[in-house]
Amino acid sequence: MLATLKHYSRIYILIEAQYIKARMQYRADFIISSIGMIFSNVVSVVVFWVLFQTVPLLAGWTFPEILFIYGFYLLAVSPAQIFFDHIWSLRWHLIEGTFIKYYFRPLNMMFYYMSEVFDLKGLAQVIIGISVLVYASIQLHIVWSFWRIISLLVALFGASLVVISLLTIASSAAFWFMNAYPILSLAFKLREYSQYPMTIFGAFFRILFTYLIPIGWIAFYPSQIFLRPSEASWTVYLSPLVGIALFILAYRIWLWGVDGYTGTGS
């Protein structure tokens, strides 16, 4: 187990080192893309700021608390952005038959496929996420003890698995429908709504976003551990397990699709 992990880490670093070298030929692209990324991340802060000019509370939450949830959200979606960005091309590889090549390496196929893209502009998202989280923590007087940082990392790990799983399931639809772009882009939009407190929704949508399309576990539920722990239900501590369970499900669906793919015949 440990030897396999070491082996895969080494391969991943080798692949990404080459990839980053190749991307750095387009330095302007990296800078412009990062600026685009920063814009798309800062917009929510602006929107919340304008809203809080009119009302003091949103569903009982203060501006710094909403910012904390948003910072958590940005960090939770970053691993999917950085390490799993290749899911957007899956449909093309399936339609054109180039997906066949991934069957011929002695590596885990999901690992090999996803390792082909390392999204550099996602790093800008991490920086914005950390800045928002730090700013909100200062406003809220949250003390970051050693154990609290560890629990933040564990919570973020679970939350990022939820995002990765939802996007993987949506893009795996391409194994059956070929053009799964609309499904993937719907999942991507839904992911964005996880920055809002789930308590704003009515019963139907709260149940939907908790159990069926579990975007509540991306930011709102896990951030309860840090925001108002005394008011939080014990279930929020299960969020890492939700992430792991969902990822197992997503991986099964991916494998199911991979096993059934027959190529294009060329």
Partner: protein, 263 residues
């Protein structure tokens, strides 16, 4: 004119092929509408009005701007960028047609597909499920004119973003930044009345509010009267002319650096 209309007809037919996409786009837009419904319901709480707008007014305004955003998003910038990078643009340049006008009429075909497949079902759902209400009268006529002007503005901004591919092939960043600037400053994410006064006084002079705020306000705001409509249309028209001149000048500059690798 007839030559250009053929372009519109052709892209309209091609666009209809993507019906499967349209279902998901409608669904995606409906989820967004649900989110803004609950979000703003919470913001209003027990208050009847905020910034002189009632909850139903704010809700219908935001639901319609988001639908209009989907209709206007015809990926003109991506199409131009792809044509420039692959060199296909030469096929357009050798035709005896104006490049900008050809792209406009093609985009219009796609826009009309989105209007029929996405905006109309959404509007029906808004009226039936959410019991949305809007004033019906002379404003519909002004709305139609305003919609055309708004589309022209939105198109020309996308067109210029596409032309940047003559200089850099990094469209994603520029297109994303443009989209967000337009969404925020046009009042598509939050009605312009909710912005702090100092900011709002600047926003009304920028071209962005003419894209979403002007047509949707004309359609939904019951306070506005004919002089207000004419005033808003006048501002829209001024911006259309100004941006048209800028985009023509930009094209004249950008085309000079075009190099196509053989072929």
């Amino acid at each position: 004119m007839k030559r250009y209309l053929h372009l519109t007809k052709n892209t309209y037919m091609v666009g209809l092929v993507w019906r499967f996409n349209a279902i998901f786009t409608v669904l995606s837009n409906l989820f967004y509408i649900v989110v803004i419904y609950f979000l703003w319901k919470n913001i209003y709480g027990s208050q009847a009005t905020l910034r002189e707008m009632t909850f139903p007014q704010t809700f219908i305004y935001l639901a319609l701007t988001s639908s209009l955003f989907v209709v206007f998003k015809t990926f003109v910038d991506w199409q131009i960028s792809r044509d420039i990078i692959s060199g296909v643009i030469t096929m357009d340049l050798i035709k005896p047609l104006d490049y900008q006008v050809s792209v406009l009429f093609r985009s219009a075909g796609f826009m009309l597909v989105q209007l029929t497949l996405i905006a109309l079902p959404t509007l029906v759902i808004l009226l039936v499920v959410f019991h949305a209400q809007m004033p019906i009268g002379i404003n519909l006529l002004f709305f139609a004119i305003s919609l055309v002007l708004a589309y022209l503005l939105s198109f020309m901004i996308d067109y210029m973003v596409g032309l940047t591919s003559f200089y850099t092939q990094s469209l994603w960043g520029i297109s994303t930044a443009k989209e967000i600037i337009v969404l925020v400053l046009s009042g598509a994410l939050i009605p312009i009345r909710f912005f702090p006064d100092a900011l709002r006084n600047v926003l009304v002079y920028l071209p962005f509010q003419a894209i979403y705020n002007a047509p949707i306000s004309i359609l939904t705001d019951p306070i506005l009267r004919t002089p207000d409509y004419l005033n808003m249309l006048g501002i829209q028209l001024l911006w259309v002319i100004a941006i048209l001149v800028i985009s023509r000048l930009f094209y004249a500059q950008a085309i000079k650096v075009l190099t196509i690798a053989g072929g």
